[in-house]
Symmetry: D2
Subunit: 203 residues, 4 copies
Amino acid sequence: MKILLTGFEPFGGETINPSFEAIKQLPDCIGSAEIIKVQLPVSFESSGPVLTEALETYQPDAVICVGQAGGYSGIAVERVAVNLRDATAADNCGIAPEDQPVIAGGPDAYFSSLPVKEITAALKHHGIPASVSNSAGTYVCNNVMYTLLHLIRSRNLPIQGGFIHVPYSMEQAAHKTSSVPSMALEHMTKGLELAIDVLIHPN
Amino acid sequence: MKILLTGFEPFGGETINPSFEAIKQLPDCIGSAEIIKVQLPVSFESSGPVLTEALETYQPDAVICVGQAGGYSGIAVERVAVNLRDATAADNCGIAPEDQPVIAGGPDAYFSSLPVKEITAALKHHGIPASVSNSAGTYVCNNVMYTLLHLIRSRNLPIQGGFIHVPYSMEQAAHKTSSVPSMALEHMTKGLELAIDVLIHPN
Amino acid sequence: MKILLTGFEPFGGETINPSFEAIKQLPDCIGSAEIIKVQLPVSFESSGPVLTEALETYQPDAVICVGQAGGYSGIAVERVAVNLRDATAADNCGIAPEDQPVIAGGPDAYFSSLPVKEITAALKHHGIPASVSNSAGTYVCNNVMYTLLHLIRSRNLPIQGGFIHVPYSMEQAAHKTSSVPSMALEHMTKGLELAIDVLIHPN
Amino acid sequence: MKILLTGFEPFGGETINPSFEAIKQLPDCIGSAEIIKVQLPVSFESSGPVLTEALETYQPDAVICVGQAGGYSGIAVERVAVNLRDATAADNCGIAPEDQPVIAGGPDAYFSSLPVKEITAALKHHGIPASVSNSAGTYVCNNVMYTLLHLIRSRNLPIQGGFIHVPYSMEQAAHKTSSVPSMALEHMTKGLELAIDVLIHPN
């Protein structure tokens, strides 16, 4: 089994992005599964093509895209991606689309094909705060999640795919002037391992 | 140098109290300092006497009382204790005083005699979210903090003393139905070690 | 022009539901538009049929369904309804579906056909806190919004339709033990009038 | 009976300060009580002298100082003022003191001499979200509250005095990019009338 994990480069003035930092600490194999790690740009235009190329190159059995959700208290397993780009801040290429589709002509939304409830339950069972989220926003994270699910559905690929949001890391939170929730990177990595374990050993 | 750390027993339906769990993991010596660990009851009536007895028994050079502040995102170094018991929920003995003083005739409040800014800065510098807080509430935590500072001031004891609040542990947060901030116990323990280090090596 | 406004009966232990209280205070005519007011049950099973019957009876040109979003600070103009019933608490009929579709075989989601950005801007311009929301949840509110949009799309009806969430009323918030944001009912009514005005006078 | 109400000028980039806007709308007499309205500068140095002069000029029987607490959901009746100036942002004169006392040699804190619980209960009873707060911060609001209570106590004046914080007005919240709680100015004014009524008609 081959599982692709993607994280993002830093954005919004941050010097790290906990999504890729957490992924980097994953082992290269978990049980019988090979773990492939790819960093995506925080770009509406190029994040989709980079993801698409990774799918074509590695032909994974499952894909978990991961992003930073500053202000969240726990790990959020996303349930829905919408066909919408609507940014209040520019991406790393200076682009801030408003009310644009991710894929012109695509359906309004796709549900994740990951077992979001099972993943959430596994994390909580192991002491990692987690919940199912019903909105991945309308920024680059949602753009990647929609692109992934559109690829899977439109090409009828035998891939389980979805998106997970992680909070700020402790280091990020410690350097802010106002109080925000956070999670240690090692616990994010542990959470991703547990999610992968759910995919390897489905109920 | 002898430093007394106090934490609390569980209360409010929780099965653990992260304040004492974090303290239990501290080593018995940090540098040249001996660390003494005492668990206090969540009781308006008996928490003060137990603390007083510990001070008389161990005669510490510094005292850090620690309590749980459910809902906080980081470690809160308390700056003020008020002469007030005002509970919205009963303590572990079933007592819920309203608008009562901690010490009849005592001053309205005492400032902490810990270096609260230095401790906060040390924690943040090491990647542990922390802030100075201006209210320890009016429950048993404040009761203990006020009792400690009243003892120090009224007996003119050569003791640095104050109170630190810790968030829910990850395990506590993971088992709640709504999303709340949390911190891993090992990072709370690390935070307390850093606070102790500030006391051992003052600027 | 005929505009249908729906609100809900109380639920979750509340004695009022601000959504229908706000609607009741609307005038029967706004400019040239006739305002029709219907209360919906907080029921996964019967809310859809009651809404469908109202559409067939009144044949409105536009429909704004309104619901309570306890904890919100302002008026939330919903952008997306998902084909999902997933309740953590029972509805007023004692039903708490998990992971069920609203309409079996329906698409994963529908975007609102209201001008959500124009409505939000109009409210803010008139001093009423408002924002576009990307999730109407997975409870009865979302159930009604999805049902409405499915009716419109599947029957190809010439109707603008969508959903607006209102915060707790001040009276509701005043009687809670913890602090929650709220809005006076008259300002919710004002907000709905402004939304209606956007529909009557499109840019 | 003569009651002095003080509010503040705008600060922190805001164009209004809801505290004085709400006071301006109070009638000049409430029952048998004369209402005196004074605006204070957002200045650590001059707010105290302006307040002191107002007390000497008008010789009121009661004083309610009011300030803005951006982010609060309801009206907060402050219980404690601390002898501390500790600003993270400059006041309107460009001054940002750190760890300075309000009054050198003054006690660490004073409790409000207003009936804070009765005022809070009256507001809630009339549908205005309110709570007792245990910290007025360490900015100019606390500076004014401490100055007031120090004047009353040190001069042994027969004055009831304290501080009330109000949330952002709806207009302020409507123009922010992120969602924050708010209250309409007329409800703040209503809340202050209710507080005054408690002073006029004590239980």
